[in-house]
């Protein structure tokens, strides 16, 4: 058997893997780096597509799309690659619908919904409690958080059941969980939820599109450019698409990275795929059982994202921002929409069907789903919503080498005990991917941060093997 020899092999050509490769290449241009990707494209959980629009065609993101001003790793990368950001449009009235299909549809202009005084008080006290808890969380090692075992032994649902006073707020938290994680509050460790919010700078940072928050900016021309530009820098000849890694075997001298057709030898491997996919690779020697127990039990979110293009942003003309949030009791298939008008003025809305609603709606025909989405838009924004140019959607659960999005969370009872194995290198294998990040974990920023951290680890191993002094 002949095998190609590389210095470092990166598994996964998403933002984390390509950031790792780019970082290594900048440190030492002579380093032989190979990136293996199962999909037929780069970008992982980001993908930009051309869609029919008011003015011919334009580009939209069917995957990750937002960045925020506190996301320093991704912003630096955007700048370095010569890309530009523009703000998420959030002017005008937002639509807010909770409490059942026939309950009142409210609109509001601030960042906090117009809630009844009781619900608002409830919201404030929960936010205060969660932010106080977040202040105690040790993101690098959440098991060191005070009362960690107790916080990890309950689900987010349990915490909210115990501490929220109103049914409306409970529905609101369900909506937040679906929008942010694609997961129900019952599936997630409460300590994991706190860690995730802390890594983003606080709970409100996850939810809002105001400065510093997760939905602040978008990238002109789409986010997949990040990965494409990185592949340009690393060299496309070093990126092999359609090459899913099935096994990683290590011996004293090499790591052997195996695909359906080839075996590649290298000094260090950086595995960047989401934990539930990393768990499917065959490792020899076997991974520590603590890592197996962890990554086999990190539920991945389920989101169906849709983009609908229009002749004009009629909602803006009517004083709406395009932001709609709808609780699961309202019979609206989506949990949230935003204005998605392109920087070139092509009007569009973007929305998400998420969590159990995604599981419910995925089995329907696309036409039925589209009709349900449109009739909800008509209900909330007016009859103009029915006259669209194009409806496009993507069910990330059905995407090969993703199987879900936006992120893997942790089920209860795992974090306090098994968490260290998430980032701990195993021989020549180093772990990246946004799930391993300690800042903006689960976001593009986390993907970049984790990629760079794993690259640094990988480089150290490689230098040691090659007898090269650290620089």
């Amino acid at each position: 058997m002949t095998a190609e020899i590389w210095d470092v092999i990166v598994v996964g050509a998403g933002l984390s893997g390509l950031s790792a490769a780019h970082w290594l290449k900048k440190r030492d241009a002579a380093m032989k780096i190979l990136i293996l990707e199962g999909k037929d494209r780069v970008g992982g959980r980001t993908v930009t597509v051309k869609l029919p629009a008011a003015n011919d065609v334009d580009r939209w993101d069917l995957g990750g799309q937002w960045v925020g001003s506190t996301q320093t790793h991704v912003l630096k990368l955007i700048k370095e690659l010569g890309l530009e950001v523009y703000p998420q449009f959030n002017m005008g009235r937002k639509v807010h619908h909770m409490g059942g299909p026939t309950s009142k549809v409210r609109t509001y202009k601030t960042s906090i919904p117009t809630l009844s005084p009781v619900v608002l008080m409830d919201f404030t006290q929960i936010l205060w409690k969660i932010d106080r808890l977040c202040a105690t969380v040790r993101v690098q090692d959440p098991s060191k958080t005070p009362n960690a075992e107790e916080l990890d032994s309950m689900t987010l649902h349990t915490y909210i059941e115990k501490h929220a006073w109103t049914a409306e707020l409970k529905e609101e938290i369900g909506l937040c969980s679906r929008s942010v994680f694609g997961i129900e509050p019952s599936q997630m460790s409460f300590l994991f939820f706190l860690m995730y919010a802390t890594a983003a700078g606080g709970l409100l940072k996850l939810l809002e599109s105001t400065p510093g928050c997760a939905q602040e900016f978008k990238i002109k021309g789409g986010t997949q450019q990040l990965s494409e530009c990185l592949a340009d820098r690393v060299g496309w000849k070093n990126v092999r698409l359609g090459c899913a890694v099935t096994a990683i075997w290590q011996d004293a001298e090499w790591a052997r990275v195996v695909t359906a057709t080839d075996t590649f030898l290298c000094r260090a491997v950086i595995v960047t795929c989401p934990p539930h996919l990393a768990a499917k690779i065959n490792y020899q020697p076997a991974l520590p059982s603590q890592r197996e127990f962890l990554t086999q039990n990190m539920p991945v979110g389920h989101m169906i994202k849709f983009i609908i293009t229009y002749k004009t942003a009629f909602w803006r003309e009517k004083g709406f921002s395009g932001e709609i949030v709808a609780g699961s009791s309202t019979e609206c298939p989506f949990c949230v929409t935003f204005d998605a008008t392109s920087p070139f003025g092509n009007a569009a809305l973007v929305g998400f069907i998420a969590g159990q609603q995604a599981s419910h709606w995925e089995s329907k025909e696309v036409g039925e789903r589209k009709n349900a989405v449109l009739s909800s838009l008509v209900k909330y924004l007016g009859p103009e919503a029915a006259s669209f140019i194009h409806y496009e959607e993507k069910d990330w659960a059905k995407e090969d080498y993703s199987g879900g999005c936006p992120v893997n969370v942790m089920a209860p009872g795992l974090l306090t005990y098994y968490h260290p194995s998430l980032r701990k290198p195993f021989g020549r294998i180093h772990w990246a991917g946004t799930e391993t990040a300690t800042q903006w974990c689960g976001y593009m920023d986390g993907a970049v941060q984790a990629g760079q951290r794993a690259a640094l680890e990988g480089e150290k191993v490689w230098r040691k093997m090659m007898g090269i002094q650290d620089i």
Copy 2:
């Protein structure tokens, strides 16, 4: 490419797979059935070994070992195969230690420990509440249980925190969870726990060694004989060991079952491996995402089982039964031991290091673990425990094609929504394994029941394909 053609292929030569094959062969001896197994032996999570004993050598089980009189499927099979059972020895004083290393070690002779009146009251009220809930559980479809979503949204830990009054009882429940599932109460959906107890006939049935309970009888000569005898009946030429299935591809005509070296064609496939391993197989077309979400999040237990052989059953002579239960706060590595004296009179004890204690102890050297086990036995049973003949242990997390034992549980928030996909056939694929059973799920009895149910499904598919009338 040439490929061998079979009527039915069974993935996994454990008790479930071999029961399925045996059932089919009995229905139609001409049916071509192939059983593919990754391990180099049959038996799955059961394995019988020869160990040095008082009288030369004898056989003990390092995997599943107990059956009970309400376990009709496995008892019928035992009888059919000409094997015999004998009762678990449970006479004499049992040792019970909770509440920290220096707390009082109690002994008792009944099936319920000698608890303080308060703890006993607490135990009784919890048992009453849980049994009342069990009576409402619909095992076939747990989502139909009253209040199912709420019960599934919390962990067993959360329920106990809310309903138990005393710290001692909470420790007791942790011990039960580790002993029965190899899992902490924080990792398990409470509704799953109820379903599991209901499938066994009630919570106490899981815990005791009295008539009708899980630890009532053992099989003379060891449980692996069940699988070996079944393989005899099915024909060893139809069982291929060391043949791990990596992919199952279906088209209109065939299912193609792929191993590292071969492809086998068949009409129907019965997949019997534990859910977390079934999730690692590559399926084309892809499995429904609901099944992926479920089986990727069914934590498997972690147990290290040990057998220690002795010259004499000195504990019996001292009036002990050999049963010790020790809470995690006691610094005792194991959670439970039992008398394991063979039907031929060779004295032995069997015990379990389980759950997070297994994760903690697995990283130590075997000598350190053995010394810790022995010093606890000396503490509870007397100095004679130090003079053993042989110490044998098995860490099931490190066993290839198991990766854990005794059973996969369900994390919260999955059961109410994704449960149907656990048993629902997917094209030509039928699902067995004890996790899919509706009676004594997680036990050998469940493995047999599930195997027979899947065989019936597979046979129907095969008959339809072959144009043969149902019999």
